[in-house]
C-alpha cells in the first residue's frame, strides 16, 4: 500500500505542470490557439491508458489533475476515455446526452476538430460519430465551446462499465485541478493584496477561508488517488470510490470557485479577472458523470 506518487509518477506530474505553465497557462484559457490540440496529442495526454500505451489510471488521474489545474480543454477527458474504449479513432468531444442513446437534445463541448463525441448514456459510456466541421459557440464555461444538436445522432453504448468509471474518474481529476487552481489563486492574492496596512491573508477571516479550500483539495485528492488505484486493481468497490471521488472533487471545485471570488473582492466579480473561469468550469464538470446517490449509499444493483 502506497498512496503517494512514485518517483516516475512525480516526474510526470512535474513535467506536465511545467509544460502547462509554459504552453497552456490558465490566463489564456479563453483563447486557446487552434494548434494546441495537436500539441496535447503529441504530449500523449489523449491516450495515456490506450491499449498501445497502457499506463495505469493512478498515473493518468494525477496527470489529469495537473491538466485540469490549467483549465485544459475538456475534450481531453472524453478523448482519453475514447482512446481506450471507443471503436472510433480521433478527437472525441465531450457529450452531454439527454439520457437515452437516441433522439433528444445533445450538448457537445469542445467540438472543434472532433470526429466523435463521448458521454454518459444512463449508466454506460457511449459514443457517436460527429459531423465534420462542427464548431462550438458560447457556453457558461468560456473555456468550453458548445455545439447543440437537436435531434442528436444515435449513440452506441460501450458495454464495459469500466469505460463509464474511467470517464467519471477523469472528470473528477479535472474538477480537483480546478479546485486546486482556485485555492492557489486565492492564496496568492491574499499574500499580496493589502488592506488595513497588511496582507489580507494575515486576517483569520480570510486565512480560514483559504485553509478550508486547502482541506477540500486534500480530501478530494486523497480519494481520487485511492479511487484510481481501486480501478487499476479491479476492486469490487471501485464504483463507490470513484463516485466518492467525483462527489468530493465537484464540491471542492464549486466551493473553492465561490470562495476564490470572495477572497478577491471587487476584482473577483469582474470578467477581466480569472476567478470566474474556475467557478464556471466547476459548474460544467458537475454535469459530467455526476456521482450517483445509490452508489454512494451502497444500494446500487
Amino acid at each position: 500500500m502506497d498512496l503517494t506518487p512514485s518517483a516516475e509518477q512525480e516526474a510526470l506530474i512535474t513535467a506536465t505542470a511545467v509544460w502547462c505553465a509554459d504552453n497552456m497557462p490558465l490566463e489564456q484559457a479563453r483563447q486557446r490557439p487552434s494548434a494546441l490540440w495537436q500539441e496535447l496529442e503529441a504530449m500523449g495526454w489523449t491516450a495515456m491508458t490506450a491499449p498501445d500505451v497502457g499506463l495505469d489510471h493512478a498515473t493518468e488521474a494525477a496527470v489529469f489533475a495537473e491538466l485540469g489545474r490549467h483549465l485544459a480543454p475538456v475534450g481531453l477527458v472524453s478523448s482519453a476515455v475514447a482512446a481506450r474504449w471507443s471503436p472510433h479513432a480521433g478527437k472525441a468531444a465531450l457529450a452531454l446526452l439527454d439520457g437515452s442513446l437516441e433522439g433528444g437534445k445533445l450538448r457537445v463541448f469542445d467540438p472543434h476538430g472532433a470526429v466523435q463525441a463521448l458521454g454518459l448514456a444512463g449508466h454506460l459510456a457511449a459514443t457517436t460519430a460527429l459531423p465534420r466541421d462542427l464548431d462550438g459557440g458560447p457556453s457558461l464555461d468560456p473555456t468550453a465551446p458548445l455545439a447543440r444538436l437537436d435531434p442528436a445522432p444515435r449513440f452506441e453504448a460501450i458495454a464495459d462499465p469500466h469505460a463509464a468509471l474511467h470517464l467519471q474518474l477523469l472528470a473528477a481529476a479535472f474538477a480537483l485541478g480546478c479546485a486546486d487552481a482556485a485555492r492557489d489563486m486565492a492564496a496568492a492574492y491574499a499574500k499580496v493584496r493589502e488592506q488595513f496596512e497588511r496582507p489580507i491573508g494575515w486576517f483569520q477571516a480570510i486565512k480560514h477561508i483559504c485553509a478550508d479550500m486547502a482541506v477540500r483539495c486534500a480530501v478530494a485528492r486523497s480519494q481520487l488517488y485511492y479511487a484510481a488505484g481501486a480501478l487499476d486493481v479491479g476492486a469490487d468497490d471501485a464504483a463507490f470510490h470513484i463516485a466518492s471521488a467525483k462527489l468530493l472533487a465537484d464540491q471542492a471545485a464549486l466551493e473553492n470557485g465561490r470562495a476564490n471570488i470572495q477572497v478577491h473582492g471587487g476584482i473577483g466579480m469582474t470578467d477581466e479577472a480569472y476567478p470566474h473561469l474556475c467557478l464556471k468550469r466547476a459548474h460544467l464538470l458537475t454535469f459530467i458523470a455526476p456521482a450517483r446517490r445509490d452508489i454512494l449509499l451502497g444500494d446500487a444493483a
Binding site: M1, T4, R183, A214, Q223
Partner: protein
C-alpha cells in the same frame, strides 16, 4: 501508487483479526474514568502479554519493532472488532510514550516505556492552563531549580485522567522571566508527589474524566527533564505532530462503523426517504472513504520520508468535524428519545456532548486552520 497490502501485511491483518475475535471483552468499558481504571489496566495488560501493545515501538522497551503500516492495520482491526477504547492508557500510549521514544534518555525510556505498554503506569497530560489554551506558549506554571530538583508552582487544567494517573507529562517555565516558547521544559512529574492536588471537573456529558491540577512547591528530580532544560516547546511539538499524523486511525474506523450503523437505522425507520438525510449520509460515506485514503497517504509519506506530511493538520481537522456531524446525525435519527437522557448514562447523547472536545482539545479547529493557512499555503503568520 498502489492500494493493495502486501501478502505479509495481509497475513498480519488475519493474525490481528483472529486474536481480537477471541479476546475482545464482552462487557462494556465503564462510563466514569474512576470506575474504568481497573478495566483499562486489565485490558492493556492483556494486550501487552499477547504482544499487541506498542506494535511499532522499539523491541528493547517492550514493543514489537514492526512497521507503521502494521500499526495501522492493527488499529483498523482493533476498531473493526469493536474493541474497547484504551481509555486511561491513552496519554501514555499516544503522547508520553512516543515523546520519550523520540526525546527521552536511556534511563527514562527503560523505566517508563515498558510500564506504559503493560498498563502498569497511567499517564496524564499537563499542557493547558487557565490562561494558556490555544495560546499554549502563554504557560505560567513555573519551576525554580534548587540543587538537583525542580520546585513547581502553578496550575494545569483540562487534564484527562489526572485523578487516576501515576505520571504526568508536564510543561513548565524553568527560566525566570522567559517569554513565549523559550524557557519551557518538558518534565516527568510523579502525580503522587506531595503538593500535587487534583480537583476533578464534571463534563456536560455528566462524566468525570478531566481535572484541574494544582502544584504547591512540588519537588521533581532534575533527571526527570526530557530533552534538556529549556527545550520544552520542541519536545511538546514532537508529540503533537505525532498526534496530528497517525493518532486518529482507530477513531476513523469507528466513524466508518457508526456511519454504517446510522445508515442501517435510517433504512429500518424509513428516515432514508428524507432527501436531506439520504444526501447527508451519502456525503459522509464519501468523506469517510476519503479520510481513510488521506490517512493512507499520510502513512505512505511517513514510510517514505520518516515523518507525517504537512497535511496531517488537515486529517486532524477533518476527522474532528466529520465526527461531530456523525454525532449530530445520530441525534437527528434518534428523535425525541434523546430527551430522556440522564447523567451517568453511556448513550449517543453522552457521545454527542463529549464530542465537542474533538474540535477544542489538542489545538482547536481554529488553530488547525491557522496552521493549514500558514504552513500549507504560506499565508502570513497572524500570531
Amino acid at each position: 501508487m498502489d492500494i493493495a497490502f502486501s501478502p505479509e501485511e495481509q497475513h498480519f491483518r488475519a493474525e490481528c483479526r483472529d486474536w481480537l475475535h477471541e479476546n475482545v471483552p464482552s462487557e462494556p468499558r465503564p462510563f466514569h474514568a474512576a470506575d474504568a481504571i481497573d478495566f483499562d489496566k486489565a485490558w492493556q495488560r492483556r494486550l501487552f502479554d499477547a504482544g499487541w501493545a506498542g506494535i511499532n515501538w522499539p523491541r528493547e522497551y517492550g514493543g514489537r519493532g514492526l512497521s507503521i503500516v502494521q500499526q495501522v492495520i492493527w488499529l483498523e482491526e482493533y476498531a473493526r472488532a469493536r474493541a474497547p477504547w484504551i481509555g486511561a492508557n491513552f496519554v501514555g500510549i499516544n503522547h508520553g510514550g512516543p515523546t520519550l521514544i523520540l526525546n527521552g534518555s536511556e534511563a527514562q525510556k527503560a523505566l517508563h516505556l515498558p510500564r506504559i505498554l503493560s498498563g502498569e503506569a497511567i499517564w496524564c497530560q499537563g499542557f493547558s492552563e487557565p490562561g494558556a489554551g490555544s495560546d499554549l506558549a502563554g504557560i505560567r506554571t513555573r519551576a525554580r531549580i534548587e540543587g538537583d530538583e525542580l520546585v513547581v508552582n502553578g496550575t494545569k487544567i483540562w487534564t484527562s485522567f489526572a485523578h487516576v494517573a501515576d505520571w504526568q507529562e508536564l510543561v513548565v517555565r524553568t527560566e525566570e522571566g522567559s517569554h513565549r516558547h523559550a524557557g519551557l521544559s518538558w518534565v516527568i512529574c510523579d502525580m503522587h508527589t506531595p503538593g500535587v492536588e487534583v480537583r476533578p471537573i464534571r463534563k456536560m456529558s455528566g462524566q468525570i474524566e478531566f481535572a484541574q491540577v494544582f502544584y504547591d512547591d512540588v519537588r521533581i528530580p532534575l533527571e526527570n527533564v526530557v530533552g534538556g532544560l529549556g527545550q520544552g516547546w520542541k519536545v511538546a511539538m514532537s508529540t503533537l505532530s505525532f498526534e496530528r499524523g497517525t493518532g486518529f486511525i482507530a477513531d476513523q474506523v469507528k466513524q466508518a462503523q457508526e456511519l454504517e450503523d446510522l445508515l442501517a437505522r435510517a433504512r429500518r425507520t424509513g428516515a432514508i426517504k428524507d432527501d436531506r438525510i439520504a444526501g447527508d449520509l451519502a456525503q459522509m460515506r464519501a468523506e469517510v472513504a476519503a479520510l481513510r485514503a488521506m490517512t493512507y497517504r499520510n502513512i505512505s509519506e511517513v514510510v517514505r520520508t520518516g515523518q507525517p506530511g504537512p497535511e496531517a493538520s488537515v486529517i486532524r481537522l477533518f476527522t474532528a468535524e466529520l465526527g461531530q456531524r456523525l454525532e449530530r446525525m445520530a441525534l437527528l435519527l434518534a428523535g425525541e428519545a434523546i430527551l430522556d437522557f440522564r447523567y451517568g448514562e453511556d448513550s449517543l447523547v453522552a457521545e454527542y456532548l463529549r464530542g465537542f472536545a474533538a474540535t477544542i482539545a489538542g489545538g482547536s479547529s481554529q488553530i488547525q486552520r491557522d496552521i493549514i493557512g500558514e504552513r500549507l499555503l504560506g499565508l502570513p503568520k497572524s500570531r
